[in-house]
């Protein structure tokens, strides 16, 4: 158990800059989820923490100690890989015990730790089996067990649930969270799945093209996304974006599509009249009604209790709405934008514009 700090970690592979300076402070026992689209540098960041990759510059500090120059084995971290990386010729017991044997622990200690971890994970009956005799979920547990027996300072997970089917993924997700809380081990968890990120993390790091676009709790990210990338990435279906301009002395926005003026519920924004904005509104916040947007609904996806409606505005811009009930038809539909759920971003930089104090 330990804290973790990353200080301005940069990484370039040859001429390609993959990480542009990531800073992160992780408290003891915290579960941090690193989430982002494929190729944004999540794995690279995790592997730098593990010591499998050397940062071009910056420092990695585990438990107050600068481990940047240390080998992976000397950092006291454990990693769970996407494909589990279980040695096929070793039994489950041997796979879990391998790291402890290398560290030269006494035989009884190894046996006890493996037994305890196996019971914790419900795989005590499988210890004699080979990995190929296990189901995907069981292999996943063994990979977890291999990390747990080490009693490391840090758990590192690189998309460990991606190879499981949907149902098992949900189940293992809850199990990992439960275990992590119970063991209280500081953890970094990499995923590209935003639902996984929201449900697992104490805090999320949303990565975008080698930058940490936002580091915050899941709810804060959902309620106050730092920029349009985070706003569009977190939440399903994705947030709707509408071009607008600042008006009425900074207290309202005028939609470009139909000239509708939307006063800000939380206060005025800085900038002169006509400043170009992007307004964001989540599909689940739209309500049926007159006097807002006029949609032409092209597709209705009933989800049971609610439906997702895909439509277009008169100028062709796509809009998604998530409305209660299953009885929706294709065709024209009016929706209103609740002002308290409006997100305001700068059109140029994409950064969130908060109300002035």
């Amino acid at each position: 158990m330990a804290t973790l700090a990353l200080e301005d970690v940069k990484k370039a592979f040859g001429a390609t800059q993959v990480l542009h300076g990531v800073d992160l402070e992780v408290a003891d026992g915290e579960m941090i989820v690193i989430v982002g689209a494929s190729g944004c540098g999540k794995s690279t960041l995790l592997r730098i923490v593990a010591g499998l990759e050397t940062a071009t510059s910056g420092r990695v500090i585990i438990g107050g100690q600068d481990v940047t120059p240390l080998e992976p084995a000397d950092r006291d971290v454990a990693m769970v890989f996407q494909n589990y990386a279980l040695y096929p010729h070793m039994s489950v017991f041997d796979n879990m015990a391998y790291g402890l044997r290398i560290r030269g622990l006494p035989r009884e200690v190894i046996a006890r730790r493996v037994q305890e971890a196996a019971e914790l994970l419900g795989i005590a009956a499988l210890l004699e089996r080979k990995p190929r005799q296990l189901s995907g979920g069981q292999r996943q547990r063994v990979a977890m067990g291999r990390a747990i027996v080490r009693e490391p300072k840090l758990f590192l997970f690189d998309e460990p649930l991606s190879n499981l089917d949907a149902k098992l993924r949900v189940q293992m997700r809850a199990e990992i969270r439960r275990l992590q809380k119970r063991l209280g081990v500081t953890s970094l968890f990499v995923t590209h799945d935003q639902v996984e990120a929201m449900t697992l993390g104490d805090r999320l790091v949303v990565m975008h093209q080698g930058h940490a676009a936002q580091i915050a709790t899941p709810m804060e990210i959902w309620e106050r996304p730092a920029d349009t990338y985070v706003a569009g990435f977190i939440g399903s279906p994705a947030m709707n974006f509408l071009p607008a301009t600042l008006t009425a002395g900074g207290t309202a926005a005028r939609l470009e599509t139909n000239g509708l003026v939307l006063p800000f519920a939380d206060g005025p924004r800085a900038g002169e009249e006509g400043r170009r904005l992007t307004l964001g509104i989540r599909p689940e916040h739209l309500r049926p009604g007159i006097g807002g947007l006029d949609l032409q609904v092209e597709l209705v996806e009933p989800l049971g209790g609610e439906s997702v409606l895909h439509g277009r505005l008169a100028d062709g811009a796509p809009i998604t709405a998530k409305l209660p009930g299953a009885l929706h038809a294709e065709g024209p539909l009016g929706v209103i934008i609740p002002l308290e759920h409006l997100h305001v971003f700068d059109a140029e930089t994409g950064k969130r514009l908060d109300a002035q104090a």
Partner: protein, 300 residues
């Protein structure tokens, strides 16, 4: 047939009969071709076996007997302990031992060297790594026969002629096996290496605990191929060894056959040939079982 007939239910019995007939025809054809193949391959060996059970004059007369004779014990014991043919006096027992030692040294040496060099090339980053690989690779283009004169010179300079070392060392360097192991090592997932690094396993430990066990199947397959390669070596042993106590069975066998100035003891020669056959056959039979078992049990 078009028309109303085609609308009726198909005649299942007729279709099933047709399928059975076709299966019978196919079975007949495959068996016929297999029998022909077996005859072509097995007949010379059968002749050798039969020939080794007759007395010296039967084959000397020009007969080719197809049924066993009664001299088997005498021929085999002469071949085993006394030898025969043109240069009487090299017993098969000694030559078999020489061949066995030579083939095993070549096989084990080749496997050891190619395992370690492939491990270095695949798992380590060092300067001139690819150059090292290509240097190994281009020796593939140079079989022993091509470099036989310089190699012989080197062995003479090192005073290794007429020794087991001289017999085996030049045959051990092997690009083929290195290449095979390299290809196999490349299929070992990077995550195994990384998991081992995090667990604290050093390179030798990883080699012993992970790479070697995973390579068992490949090693078994190579063992079979290389053992037969080593066993069948002819030109190099002929050249480097003239001390008859180091003679290998393949060389010894050819030396037993005369140039036509005297009658060959075909019965003893054939008995020796049967002896020469047995170890490679044993290796194939024994290792094949292990090799297939390895194939079906290993899995990612």
């Amino acid at each position: 047939m078009p028309g109303p007939m085609s609308l009726q239910a198909p005649d299942v019995d007729a279709l099933a009969r047709r399928t059975r007939a076709r299966q019978r025809r196919e079975a007949l054809l495959t068996h016929a071709s297999l029998v022909v193949g077996v005859l072509i391959f097995a007949f010379p060996i059968y002749l050798t076996l039969i020939g080794s059970t007759h007395d010296v004059n039967t084959i000397g007369r020009g007969d080719v007997p197809l049924l066993p004779g009664g001299e088997a014990m005498a021929n085999y014991s002469q071949a085993w302990s006394a030898g025969g043919g043109r240069y009487m006096g090299v017993p098969a027992a000694g030559m078999l031992l020489n061949s066995l030692v030579m083939a095993l040294l070549i096989t084990l040496g080749k496997i050891a060297i190619s395992l370690t060099s492939a491990y270095a090339v695949v798992f380590f980053r060092f300067p001139f790594r690819m150059l090292a690989f290509w240097l190994i690779f281009i020796t593939l283009m140079l079989p022993v026969e091509v470099r036989i004169i310089p190699t012989f010179q080197v062995m003479v300079d090192l005073k290794l002629t007429n020794s087991m070392a001289g017999l085996t060392v030049p045959l051990i360097a092997s690009a083929t096996a290195t290449l095979l192991f390299r290809q196999f090592f490349l299929t070992i997932p990077d995550e195994y290496v990384e998991a081992a690094k995090i667990d604290g396993a050093g390179p030798l430990r990883f080699f012993k605990d992970v790479v070697l066990p995973l390579s068992v199947t490949n090693i078994a397959a190579l063992f079979v191929i290389l053992f037969i390669y080593g066993w069948n070596q002819y030109l190099w042993p002929l050249l480097i060894v003239n001390d008859r106590s180091l003679e290998t069975i393949v060389v010894g066998l050819t030396k037993m056959i005369g140039g036509g100035d005297a009658q060959n003891e075909w019965n003893v020669i054939m008995a020796t040939a049967v002896f020469a056959l047995l170890p490679p056959v044993a290796v194939v039979v024994l290792m094949q079982r292990w090799f297939v078992k390895g194939l079906t049990e290993t899995e990612k």
